[in-house]
């Protein structure tokens, strides 16, 4: 009996350990193998990789070496490392929208067979959108999702309640709330605070923020309509009244922001919001978990999240004018408001350099799988510093995870509800995932927006600059090729 109990306990322990090890890895299997991982300068994203690297090393014997570069250099660093044959890195944790430029020349390892054989990864627990958009290209799997990204608007529940205001449903609401709360003391330190804090720094995240506003005006008839280009001609949708209105709103948010907002990246806006200095902010899921960090947050359980505010007027693509929402112009509108939640970035994902030695590739896959398995991922997504946001079905369903991390039941429901509302939307705006999208967004769009915010150019000039810049890239790379890639992206099954 005692012996049977011993065997039973041993099996139980083995079963408990099973999820933390990928099926492909065994203890000590990768002794002496070093895996070089490249990602961006943290602390977000790099932190969980650095923290869990040694733990993975103890399990498998592999050494995980995490190297970081500034975000604005990451795309090029990955591309040049592989294209020049340097191959000094084995794993890249990057924006999945860049995948087109890495997969097409054959630089990334096809992970499909490994994923199919990996039960510990629990692939089907990963949200369908992330499996399709973040991991798959041309029907094959190239990355393991580690993060799920949607932009949302966060607001201070206590501040809005005090002022008798409702959370923003439209961008006009957003501006009204920002105006009403600006220059009020929001954290009790006796200093005037800000109505809105948005990361607007150049070479950072500003171009995603502006598209979170613009997407609502540009796309109303479902995801496949696209918001960046016309799906028939590949002409940019940035030279019309709708985009002009989006830019006007984006610029106007600055009236209610901190004086040096143009120098704020998400690190600053998150710090500003969690220290209680901002009534509203626009961000990915990070604020939800950062707000419950007892070390830094002054707004624990005072934070609400809503789907990206929408609009009552949308672009008429024939005339380039704004038209009122109706059942035909905005078929997915709720209460006459068109919401187009922006799946900005898509979520950090890990890919493997095809040129890495076979043993290193095995260790690299085992590490990515380990990072994404529920045993690790379900804890990491509840920690603000990781930068990882929920992307697994189990993370949305199990509110106990979030309550355990320090959220109230109501806050957890609100936070996960806002992400799920975006995820379920049939009118979700997909981020650009065509060849050299980094040039379209991070170079042309970002530079023009930075100039507009600095008042170097006006809205009309900014629109022209973006239009001309995008057209030049499309013409250079081939309009038909780019159009085919754009259409293929929008045809992603969800």
């Amino acid at each position: 009996m005692r012996r049977s109990l011993g065997i039973f306990l041993a099996l139980l322990i083995a079963a408990a350990l099973l999820p933390v090890l990928p099926v492909t890895a065994a203890p000590g299997q990768f002794a002496g193998v070093t895996v070089n991982v490249l990602t961006f300068t943290g602390p977000q994203i790099a932190e969980p990789l650095q923290r869990r690297g040694p733990a993975f090393g103890r399990l498998t014997g592999a050494k995980i070496n995490v190297v970081t570069v500034p975000f604005s250099d990451l795309y090029q660093k990955i591309l040049t490392d592989m294209a020049t044959g340097t191959n000094s890195f084995h794993v890249f944790v990057f924006a999945p929208q860049w995948m087109a430029d890495y997969v097409t020349p054959g630089y990334l390892e096809d992970l499909t067979p490994r994923v199919n054989a990996d039960t510990a990864l629990q692939w089907n627990d990963i949200g369908t959108f992330f499996r399709d958009f973040s991991a798959t290209y041309g029907g094959r799997i190239y990355t393991i999702p580690l993060d799920g990204d949607f932009q949302m608007v966060y607001y201070r529940t206590d501040v809005l309640q005090r002022q008798g205001l409702q959370p923003p449903r439209t961008w006009e609401d957003y501006l009204r709330i920002a105006a009403a709360t600006h220059k009020k003391d929001l954290n009790g330190d006796g200093r005037a605070d800000f109505g809105s804090c948005i990361a607007k720094k150049r070479n950072a995240q500003s171009y995603w923020m502006v598209w979170s506003v613009a997407g609502n005006f540009l796309q109303a008839k479902g995801t496949s309509e696209g918001s960046f280009f016309d799906v028939d001609s590949m002409k940019p949708l940035v030279n019309n009244d709708a985009f002009a209105e989006a830019l006007r709103i984006y610029v106007e948010t600055g009236k209610y922001g901190p004086p040096d907002e143009l120098n704020w990246d998400v690190g600053d806006s998150r710090g500003g919001f969690t220290s209680g200095r901002c009534a509203l902010t626009l961000d990915w899921g990070d604020i939800g978990t950062l707000a419950i960090d007892p070390k830094t947050s002054k707004v624990k359980n005072k934070v609400g999240a809503v789907i990206i505010p929408g609009t009552r007027r949308v672009l008429d693509r024939k005339t380039g004018k704004l038209v009122a929402c109706s059942s035909s112009t905005c078929p997915h509108a709720v209460g006459g408001i068109n919401h187009s939640p922006f799946a900005a970035f898509g979520g950090w994902s890990g890919g493997i350099n095809k040129a890495a030695p076979a043993k290193v590739k095995e260790a690299a896959y085992a590490f990515l799988s380990y990072m994404s398995q529920p045993a690790q991922a379900n804890a990491d997504v509840t920690i603000g510093i990781t930068g990882f946001n929920p992307y697994r079905v189990s993370q949305f369903r199990n509110t106990a995870l979030w309550v355990k991390a320090g959220m109230s039941q109501a806050a957890a429901r609100n936070y996960l509800g806002a992400i799920e509302a975006s995820l379920r939307s049939p009118n979700m705006v997909l981020d650009l995932r065509i060849p050299q999208n980094q040039r379209y967004e991070q170079v042309v769009l970002d530079t023009a927006i930075a100039k507009l915010l600095a008042k170097e150019i006006n809205i009309q000039q900014a629109m022209k600059e973006i239009f001309d810049g995008w057209e030049a890239i499309t013409n250079e790379l081939g309009r038909d090729k780019q159009l085919a890639a754009y259409r293929a992206t929008l045809g992603v099954k969800r």
Binding site: A83, P259, I457, G469, A472
Partner: protein, 385 residues
């Protein structure tokens, strides 16, 4: 070349010459000259000429990533066209507005000056056809630059990286020179603590530019920097210089002036201290005031040194990158981007051809400015001295 002649027979036995002194010696001397020069030439070719040629070629290509690597297809002058007429025009030249009446007047004054300059050379036969061509070329390029600069500075316009660089150079060097000269003059006087201040004035030059940029970034942060209480008292804590292009440019220039004034100071101090005492004593005996001593005696004497030090700074100042990169990241927008930073940003986004084209435009500008300065200012000052 070592040659030993074999001798046979019973000829007179004497010393056997190991070396043919006549023709071979001359040949060797000739080869030795080339041989000794070769390392320097090879170094020059490898480190200067070769990269220059490669970057010229790069500026005529566009980097493309293809399966298995990358290629550099030839695109002619497309990268230059992009800068001057295409999508990079606003970034490079700026927004060029129609000239206001005041700026028309300014341009008319400059254009008249350049015209007089060319006509004068027509009347001076000693300058020759080559000299005349040089002057006409200088007048044409300078006139074009002034025309574009005025259009960028007129209301409604804004300068691009080309003119921002020129502004950094002109304003920076002018302030650095006069400030350096004033400090050098003070430090050359018999004042208490002058040794201490000589060392202190030199310190900024010893600090890395990145360190200086971070220091000024903190100093200029009105909300959080060390002077935050002062700004708050003045009601300026909620104002940020980064929101204003000219405020940000001024910040970059202040940092640059702080760093490079010591260079002017130390060279001009050495020049002032090396002035012959008899000259100054003679002026004193003649009853010259301190003011007259400085303007009529000392300054003319140090003009050749001044001209040289300005030339060195002129060439160096065009390459400013550290300060705008760290202090403002080229912003707000692209307001503080210098040409070097513009090239760096393009290179960072893998627009290698565009980056090389910007670098070549900068090289043209530096060469043009330095050559014009040497021809029309430096040489004359040196000759007058």
């Amino acid at each position: 070349m070592l040659k030993v002649r074999a001798r046979s027979g019973a000829g007179p036995v004497g010393p056997v010459p190991l070396l043919r002194v006549g023709g071979a010696g001359t040949w060797m001397e000739r080869q030795a000259r080339s041989l000794f020069l070769m390392p320097a030439v090879a170094m020059l070719v490898a480190l200067s000429i070769f990269p220059l040629c490669v970057s010229l070629y790069l500026s005529l290509t566009r980097l493309q990533f293809v399966p298995g690597g990358f290629r550099l297809p030839f695109v002619g002058l497309a990268n230059y066209r992009k800068l001057i007429f295409g999508i990079e025009r606003v970034h490079f030249l700026g927004v060029l507005a129609a000239l206001s009446p005041l700026f028309w007047l300014l341009f008319a004054v400059v254009a008249t000056g350049l015209l007089v300059f060319v006509i004068r050379s027509l009347r001076a036969p000693e300058s020759g056809a080559r000299g005349l061509a040089g002057r006409v070329f200088f007048a044409a390029v300078a006139g074009l630059l002034v025309w574009l600069l005025l259009r960028a500075l007129t209301p409604g316009g804004r300068p691009g990286s080309l003119f921002v660089t020129l502004i950094y150079v002109i304003v920076g060097i002018a302030v650095q020179y006069w400030l350096g000269l004033a400090l050098a003059f003070l430090a050359s006087q018999d004042l208490a603590g002058r040794r201490f201040f000589r060392v202190v004035f030199l310190l900024p030059m010893m600090i890395t530019p990145v360190g200086i940029a971070y220091t000024f970034r903190i100093l200029f942060d009105l909300g959080k920097g060390p002077f935050a209480p002062l700004w708050q008292a003045l009601g300026l804590a909620e104002v940020s210089w980064v929101n204003f292009p000219w405020g940000a440019r001024a910040a970059v220039m202040i940092g640059d002036i702080w760093q490079w004034t010591p260079f002017m100071f130390i060279v001009l101090l050495a020049a002032l201290e090396s002035l012959p005492a008899e000259l100054l004593e003679a002026a004193q005996v003649d009853g010259a005031s301190r003011w007259q001593m400085f303007w009529k005696v000392m300054w003319p004497q140090i003009l050749p040194v001044s001209s040289t030090v300005i030339l060195i700074r002129l060439i160096e100042a065009f390459k400013i990158i550290d300060l705008p990169n760290v202090l403002t990241n080229g912003g707000p927008g692209t307001a503080t981007e210098s040409l070097t930073l513009h090239a760096f940003m393009a290179w960072r986004t893998l627009d290698i051809g565009g980056s090389a084209a910007v670098a070549y435009m900068l090289m043209f500008l530096v060469t043009f400015s330095a050559t014009a300065y040497i021809s029309f200012v430096h040489r004359r000052v040196a000759e007058a001295a």
